[in-house]
Symmetry: C2
Subunit: 340 residues, 2 copies
DNA sequence: CCCTGGCACTCGACTGTAGCGAGTGCCAGT
DNA sequence: ACTGGCACTCGCTACAGTCGAGTGCCAGGG
């Protein structure tokens, strides 16, 4: 598979033109639009090779060429130069995120910002509980047998949950419970709480034992098992932009995939240290998304990563632009989180 | 506009057939499928009248008839018999909602349930803060100058917000602040808190004055002004079901509308006592939804209403079925809320 | 007076044919 | 190794013709 420089240039040109026009691109218009300084016939020969190698294909005989998933992959890996963001875009990001009042707000704004800048569907994961530490646990009496458990993570994320107690519980006991759980759990990574919670039951004074047992169950459910991850989504309307040409006609599978939290997490969640990941068409494990591409990355204060964010669009998308935007937004959000 | 019984029967038949088949319905197939006991010619005459009155129309000359928005309206108001839910559906509702552990969970499950049963887009409003009372306010110290304010409403809804204090604040003061705000505000409707909050500042001891002022600002922002209403959405994939025939080709405007909280609230939010509301096509004030119909209702424990829920679909939808489902789900959720 | 059967008419959907043109593959020539 | 030329493919569009579902209208009968 020796692809000389010119063949690569041809591939790049094809990708760029196709992304821009959405139409199969032919040899003639290629030489016109780009300075390839060779004749269409030569380009045709190169195209034949590229097709043989699986980087491009013809929708039908005697039509222009269209990049394959493999072609996009090569383009992303070796052919696209990073497209620096315009100052206007940078300013937009800063302005948009500046007004955020708390974590929920940051996430909401981020996801909208991403959707708007990339004109695609955006997904942002709330800082993962598994990667957070407990900052504080609060117990609020609601009635004699009911407590509200509130957990505040160091990322600023807050989870709450109603606890139904087996028996009425005096105010003093509530204070004791609160003290005990905070002593044991504050500062601990949520993923590491389960053994400590067990110890919490064993070590608590006998009269608190039943209450603590109930509390522990809920604690584990809330902090470790149940909706451990939350997501924000925006820009679905962008799916319907490309006049149904993208996504081979039906939005159905895409919309279905977007409704599944688990699926989205898979897309966004696999976080590797500050790397940006691009999944193109077939590379997606989820069948429903075989016609889509996903650009995702992790984010967090400093070098640590607390969650993922990303963008989903047609395989025929502006990779350099999208990649630059996702990267920039993730960095800004990271800085914002570091300030708190 | 004297429409005798047979003409109404014809209209009903047209609506039912069109909803079922999605194709314009002609006089001949009409008499075949329904027992109208008259000839096609007679039906044609009736149709002519119905068309003149604006209840049906022809997509093109010499095609079958299709109901107009006005036709659907008449159908909903006077022609559709209530379609009782099947026992299976009732059981599904109960089973689906039974496992809910707290308010968030109830809302999440409800919205999915609605989407699934009606095979349409579902929207559920979280219990409105304006219609809730304060059950408890909690202040949790995060750092010397930061507090986390947690508000628990009597509907079970919880809101939290970070408060940035002007100066470091001693633990005792936090306790005092907590006591003061709870004394004044517990049991009060959130919509009625603003004057009380002002009084709170005036009545607080001098050394707490600055802290209380900051706190009040955030209090008002959180409880009254800012994201006062929250919504859950599900079933967007159902929009892409009707093969693009519904919604005259483009999902774009619908998806756009669904991304706007404000718009959705308008759809769902106007709550009248236990009434169910149906908005058909043009009757929607929002331009983007002129091709859609919305069935919405309020819900809440007992007779009180704390929020809205509803379903959005093509004007060509199964009104009796959808109405029955929405009504039933709202009632179940109301009962569920009453238990807490 | 209302309903019915009959009839002529309309018009969209579908089919088949023809011409156009963008695009290709191949080959011979430089 | 590149180029120009040439024959070929095939999707797209336009056009004509046919088919059939459905209509409107009218005259006749209960």
């Amino acid at each position: 598979m020796g692809l000389d420089d010119r063949k690569l240039a041809v591939l790049r040109a094809i990708v760029e033109d196709y992304v821009a026009t959405q139409e199969p691109v032919g040899s003639k218009s290629l030489v016109e639009r780009h300075q390839l300084s060779v004749s269409p016939a030569t380009v045709r020969n190169d195209m034949a090779v590229l097709e043989e190698e699986g980087y491009i294909r013809q929708p039908h005989t005697s039509a222009g060429r269209v990049p394959t998933d493999r072609g996009y992959r090569l383009f992303v890996d070796r052919l696209s130069r990073v497209k620096p963001l315009s100052p206007a875009e940078r300013r937009a990001i800063e302005r948009f995120l500046a007004g955020a009042v708390d974590l929920d707000d940051v996430v909401q704004r981020t996801v909208r910002l991403l959707a708007q800048l990339t004109r695609q569907v955006a997904v942002v994961q709330y800082p993962s509980l598994a990667r957070s530490r407990v900052r504080h646990l609060e117990l609020v009496p609601i009635s004699t047998t009911r407590l509200m458990l509130v957990m505040i993570a160091d990322t600023g994320r807050v989870e709450q949950r109603l606890v139904e107690m087996p028996a009425p519980i005096p105010a003093d006991d509530v204070l004791d419970l609160r003290r005990l759980v905070n002593e044991k759990l504050v500062g601990v990574f949520l993923s590491e709480t389960p053994p400590l919670v067990q110890a919490l039951i064993d070590d608590s004074p006998p009269h608190l034992r039943p209450a603590m047992t109930t509390l522990s169950t809920v604690l584990l459910e809330t902090l470790v098992e149940r909706h451990e991850e939350r997501l924000a989504l925006a820009g679905t309307a962008n799916l319907a932009r490309g006049g149904l040409l993208d996504f081979q006609g039906s939005l159905r599978p895409i919309l279905e995939a977007l409704e599944e939290q688990v699926v989205l997490l898979k897309l966004i969640g696999e976080v590797e240290p500050s790397t940006l990941r691009v999944r193109i068409g077939d590379e997606n494990e989820i069948d429903n998304l075989r016609a889509a591409s996903v650009v995702s990355t992790g984010y967090g204060p400093g070098a640590t990563i607390v969650g993922g964010m990303g963008v989903l669009g047609p395989t025929r998308m502006d990779y350099p632009g999208t990649i630059a935007t996702v990267r920039a937004v993730a960095r800004y959000v990271g800085e914002l989180l570091a300030q708190n």
